[in-house]
């Protein structure tokens, strides 16, 4: 699904078929062994961090497709690539991620980065520059901060040397490592700048939080553990880590007790292809109206019990959406971490007061349904857009 090799991509491109989707392109740059391929493999191919040790060096540009709210194409490059040998114009890319090993304080990576920034600014003033100061877990806290600062300073100085006009170029620096969730966090932030519908998703999450007294909620892509959006409260790293770990546990749990019996009845229950929202209910938020205002109006209607949710009330067999909850103590009144799949690959993760989750489950479920319908609407619009652009 997301592992189409560069080979097959080239073939498909040659025939000019099946390329109806306009993918947002991300260029992954950095010196040899800085960790580019590891980042790509850990995020999008479930490679355990420890096994990145066995990765082969990248000899030529490898293009990796990944489908989430927006379709992505990530170009993993060999360390010696130059603007000229890239084989594409920098105007084609939405973002350049430059990976620097945190222990690498030599001139080479900085020169390379500056070379690309200068070239990109010429053809593509809107491009995003993201610098991953990588393998951060290798250093103790103090050294980590110091090296991060030095790398940052050098890049800025070298750019200023190039020409004063580059002082204005916005650069985003992130500390990352494949051994913890700092990589997911950084890449999520990279992604947020590329999702046009982000404000709508954020609105949906804000409304969900408001209605359920949730202090924090994320919309996660379950495969990559990247979050596509979160509510407006600040992201606390520890909470983000816990949500990633929770997601990891849930996705590992599933296959463990999966029935391998022939004709397991459950197999037919979960429909991976979303059905259109029922027409009998008030129309879910759309781009023409503000999602938040519509949603607020909906949730103010009398509370419903889960059994008469609008979802499939008329169908005999209700559509099944996987969900989970874990209750944590000893914080008072206790926190419940809830998980609701809203599309086959997106899940709502929310921290909820346990009292709300236990006593007002109907309210929570009701808001999940509205959230799901809102996300689906946005998803449809995004899909139409990328299809239209691609033709």
């Amino acid at each position: 699904m997301m592992s189409s090799s560069s080979q097959s991509y080239v073939n498909a491109a040659k025939h000019g078929q099946n390329i109806s989707v306009q993918r947002t392109k991300i260029l992954l740059l950095g010196t040899r062994r800085s960790g580019k391929t590891s980042i790509q493999q850990v995020l999008f191919h479930h490679l355990p961090a420890k096994q990145t040790f066995y990765l082969e060096p990248t000899m030529r540009v490898a293009k990796h497709e990944f489908d989430t709210v927006i379709p992505l194409e990530i170009w993993d490059c060999p360390g010696n690539i130059t603007v000229d040998s890239l084989g594409a114009s920098l105007a084609d890319f939405a973002t350049i991620i430059f990976v620097i090993d945190i222990r690498d304080l030599y001139q080479q990576p900085v020169s390379k980065l500056v070379e690309f920034i200068v070239a990109a600014c010429q053809v593509n003033p809107d491009i995003n520059f993201e610098v991953f100061v990588h393998k951060a877990e290798k250093l103790q806290e103090d050294d980590k901060i110091e090296n991060f600062r030095q790398i940052h300073e050098r890049v800025v100085d070298r750019l200023a040397d190039e020409s004063p006009e580059y002082e204005q170029v916005p650069l985003n620096f992130h500390l990352t490592s494949v051994y913890d969730h700092s990589l997911q966090e950084a890449f999520s932030r990279v992604l947020h700048k590329l999702i046009d519908s982000l404000p709508y998703l954020e609105d949906l999450l804000n409304v969900f939080c408001l209605n359920t007294s949730s202090p924090k909620a994320f919309l996660f892509d379950t495969a990559s553990k990247l979050y596509l959006a979160t509510d407006s409260s600040p992201v606390d790293q520890a909470t983000h880590n816990l949500c990633c770990d929770y997601l990891q546990m849930l996705t590992s749990f599933g296959p463990l007790y999966k029935s391998n019996a022939e004709g397991d009845i459950r197999a037919h229950l979960f429909s991976p292809t979303p059905t259109p929202p029922p027409t009998a209910t008030p129309s879910p938020p759309s781009f023409s109206t503000s999602p938040s205002s519509t949603l607020k109006a909906c949730v103010q209607s009398p509370p419903h019990t889960p059994s008469n949710l609008p979802l499939d009330a008329r169908n005999a067999k209700p559509l099944f959406y996987p969900s989970a909850a874990t209750s944590l103590s000893p914080s008072h009144p206790g926190t419940t971490l809830s998980y609701h799949l809203v599309t086959p690959h997106l899940a709502l993760l929310a921290l909820l007061p346990t009292t709300i989750y236990d006593m007002r489950r109907g309210l929570v479920e009701w808001n999940v349904v509205w959230f799901r319908e809102g996300v689906r609407e946005i998803w449809e619009v995004e899909k139409e857009r990328s299809n239209a652009e691609g033709v």
């Binding site: 051994y179 546990m249 007790y257 009845i265 459950r266 969900s323």
Partner: protein, 308 residues
């Protein structure tokens, strides 16, 4: 027991306290005998003798302290570093210990752990392990031993330790029988009982070995993953660690996944129960209620068995 650096201390802290794998390199090599009183199932106490294996020390220790070390031993666990360059010396010490054990604690079970298996390339693991097993069985002579390949980086550690502590639980069979009754009451495919702090598996509703299973056994029907118990221990342990980093404590979990429905909740004051249901009609609320009703019965069962 085992040579210095074979991984005993790391292993113990993984199993008996919440110590993530990445921290173990900071523990100094054991240079003294460590006696750890580990509370397990509340009332059962495990004594872990962590002998340093600094050679001169180990030599004198094994001869002069023989009765102290080897009396009243329930289980001896000997740890071998899979990558050791001194296998012959290791085996020499091992034979020495085995002799002490047969002399002072005839009934003791012997477990041999071929540890740090993660250092062996995945493709070669099975062959390397088979070779070690043969070597160790030969060195054990008459004594029956159980050999496990382990690593602190995956679930193999939990598999080995679950089977070790299982030999220490006197009424595992009786617990199993009651779990089977409970599973039926819940329409569950399987029910698994875990110790609370270690999350090691104490008993399950499934027959202990496949020869006892019969065609209507729900687990056999669903052909579940054979590694599920130790993987569950590992998953929950690691999630508990994530929670404690946020100064939260893991309490309970309910799942309605595409694959199955399950509840993991407190059973008695020192056990957790996992109820796995494949029947899509059963709801988590019903399972939770059943657990609540079964609590007293299992407190009693546990009380009966462990006060001795």
């Amino acid at each position: 027991m085992g040579a210095s650096g074979s991984g005993k201390t790391s292993m113990r802290s993984m199993i008996f306290s919440n110590n993530p794998a990445s921290l173990t390199s900071r523990l100094g090599a054991t240079i003294d005998v460590e006696q750890n009183h580990v509370r397990f199932l509340g009332d059962l106490i495990l004594n872990l003798w962590d002998c340093g294996g600094q050679d001169a020390f180990m030599d004198s220790y094994l001869t002069t302290q023989r009765p102290t070390i080897f009396s009243h031993v329930g289980v001896m666990i000997y740890v071998f570093d899979v990558e050791t360059r001194e296998m012959n010396k290791d085996l020499e010490y091992y034979r020495d210990c085995l002799e002490g054990l047969t002399q002072f604690s005839k009934e003791a079970n012997v477990f041999l752990l071929v540890h740090k298996m993660d250092l062996v390339r995945e493709g070669e693991r099975a062959i390397v392990f088979q070779r070690k097993v043969a070597e160790l069985e030969k060195a054990s002579g008459e004594t029956a031993v159980k050999v496990y390949g382990t690593s602190i980086f995956d679930e193999s550690l939990y598999k080995a330790w679950s089977s070790i502590v299982n030999t220490l639980i006197p009424n595992a069979r009786n617990l199993s029988k009651h779990l089977r009754i409970f599973a039926e009451a819940c329409s569950a495919t399987e029910v698994v009982l875990f110790e609370r702090t270690t999350f090691l598996v104490i008993a399950t509703s499934s027959p202990a070995d496949s020869s006892e299973s019969f065609s209507s056994d729900p687990v056999a029907v669903h052909a579940l993953d054979p590694k599920r118990y130790e993987r569950t221990s590992e998953l929950i342990k690691s999630f508990k660690q994530s929670c404690s980093r946020l100064r939260e404590e893991f309490n309970s979990l309910e799942l309605e996944l595409a694959e199955f429905t399950a509840v993991l909740d407190e059973m008695t004051k020192n056990t957790y129960v996992l109820v796995v249901v494949h029947n899509p009609v059963i709801e988590t609320a019903a399972i939770k209620m059943n657990i609540q009703m079964a609590r007293r019965k299992f407190e009693e069962l546990q009380g009966d068995s462990l006060v001795s």
